[in-house]
Symmetry: C2
Subunit: 349 residues, 2 copies
């Protein structure tokens, strides 16, 4: 039907990476908001906070002391969700009560000795050092032969459950493949077996031709709003080269990734002139499980804000029980992000 218009009419979109669908209601932005308004983020922090367990030289919960580190600092999470010494075991009662022991390692990465910074406020060369640490940690964790998956991620902002504003991320490595990663493995594998090409590689080509969901690109990465984005300003960084994991990033690629992260997160902060909250993380091939030629490295950003610095999108009743739903289109979000400055609003003042 030629009257049907993605910009106007409610529709579903397929997430080719997971096989799931999302509901888009483009007409719904007119809805007035009478609901919950978040407190504005307290934004002024000292360079050093004596009470912060991530600042150099401070004490941690386990009694140890952080070194006087100058760039990044990695340690095992004092409240790890996964533990190294969990005994093997499980439960299977008539296939109705099914459980398996989980073994893993949770690490914390402080991105900077400076308590008052965030990724968008750091220099690209310092973000580059974080990329190096991600690569080293991935490599190191993969030396445990029982580790199958390594999740690198960041929760930014208290609205995203981040309990310490000191810039930091996490790594959870474990002996099994998490649900979201299993779905992406399946979808990429099927496509690769059918077409002999990377699913995301082909998708990138199409998006670059279309242009409408591209935010920017550099030599090695494309930053875009995926066609099937769920969160209002959800984005994805995709490597132009078909690489299965960050283990294979060249020196140039690592610098280009730092550049992409810097420019994307500065745009985010400029959106509502606030420290823009999000959860971000990389998806890449499992480890110690043979070859995964179909895997194509990428990084997701899931930011909750919708209307302003204080009004977020709620993924609640319908979304939890039925289907993710969004009110603005991916194309609208991409255009907004594309038009934002790459000079941080704080440094521009």
């Amino acid at each position: 039907n030629e009257n049907f218009d993605l910009k106007e009419h409610p529709h579903s979109r397929l997430n080719i990476l997971t096989g799931d669908w999302i509901l888009v209601s483009p007409h719904r932005t007119k809805r007035p908001w009478q609901g919950k308004v978040e407190a504005a983020q307290a934004d002024e922090r000292p360079e050093y906070d004596p009470n912060c367990y991530l600042c150099p030289g401070n004490k941690r919960a386990d009694g140890s002391e952080n070194p006087e580190y100058k760039a990044s600092y990695v340690f095992t999470n004092d409240y790890s969700s996964l533990l190294l010494n969990t005994p093997d075991g499980g439960l299977n009662d008539d296939e109705l009560l099914v459980a398996n022991s989980q073994r893993g390692i949770c690490r914390v990465i402080s991105f900077s000795p400076r308590h008052d910074l965030t990724l968008p406020q750091m220099k690209t060369e310092d973000i580059r050092k974080v990329v190096d640490v991600w690569q080293t940690e991935y490599q190191d964790l993969a030396t445990y032969p029982w580790i199958k998956h390594i999740q690198i991620f960041e929760n930014k902002g208290d609205i995203m459950g981040c309990s310490n504003p000191h810039p930091h991320g996490q790594i959870w490595a474990q002996n099994s493949i998490p649900v979201e990663v299993a779905k992406e493995t399946q979808q990429q594998k099927e496509y690769f077996e059918q077409k002999g090409r990377s699913l995301l590689g082909d998708y990138l080509q199409l998006e670059l031709k279309r242009g409408e969901r591209i935010i920017f690109e550099n030599e090695h990465f494309v930053v875009l709003v995926p066609f099937w984005a769920v969160w209002p300003y959800e984005t994805m960084i995709v490597s132009k080269r078909h690489i299965t994991s960050l283990l294979y990033f060249t020196d140039d690629e690592k610098t280009a990734l730092a550049d992409a992260i810097k420019r994307l997160t500065v745009r985010y902060d400029n959106m509502f002139e606030t420290s823009f909250p999000y959860s971000s993380g990389m998806h890449q091939a499992p480890v110690n499980m043979g070859d995964h030629p179909y895997w194509h490295w990428h990084m997701h950003f899931y930011p909750p804000l919708l209307r302003s610095a204080t009004v977020k999108k709620f993924m609640v009743g319908y979304e939890m029980l039925a289907n993710p739903q969004r009110d603005i289109t991916a194309e609208f979000a991409a255009e907004k992000l594309r038009n934002l400055s790459e000079v941080h609003y704080k440094s521009a003042r």
Copy 2:
């Protein structure tokens, strides 16, 4: 391994209704919380609010006026996410950009003329009237032959995106099967085809024998914390009789459902002596798509609070990118809920 203990060791559990796994970290409750604390809910409201679009006699956004209703009142959402008149259509670009038009109807149900009540504060006989409306609406919406799924749900509390504290729920009916429902259809169908019995029926039998996840039961319903619960105090109401949808509820069953909802939500409110937020909703057979003998009616409650009236569980980085994760076990949650009073803390004062 006999050392492995679900009460102590990190493990994954299978959600037999969706086929997904969740990560449980029982040891992690010791973690101190330094993160976001929600504002306490403002709890005193007038019986009638002249500015509320749900109160009897008031004006709505579309200019119409609510009647002076005495029990429940149903109307089409003034900001519907799905619309009746969406033209058919779609998009399929190389199976990479895939979209389909979505048609539907969104309704709002005011549960009571009283602005100051919530379900746990209403009389069981008045909740029973809400159950009647759910049944009538389900029946009515199913008369549109193109409607395939009817999602009945409630968002309670501003932390769950509810923009008006007047007690109300929603119904979103649409021309396709949402993701979560498709998963539950698949799982129940497979089990039924293999064993010739209802998946949830067998599960109920096992849970009733075990007892450790049961909160309470009445003549027709069991209220329990599912083995695979994701949210800290997530629960499920399951009908003892294997019925595919609320269309077939008898008079007795409708009264028993009202009783189950009343007693569960009172326990919830008593947990932290606050109006306990949640999103809840029914899952049941699709409509206008033939028979679904494997479907077994049930109702999910997804409440976000973890530690207190003001500290919730954040489903963020790891959860969004990898796998849902929880810190207390389903058994611990069930025991807490089981031991709570069924007299509302406000009426007990």
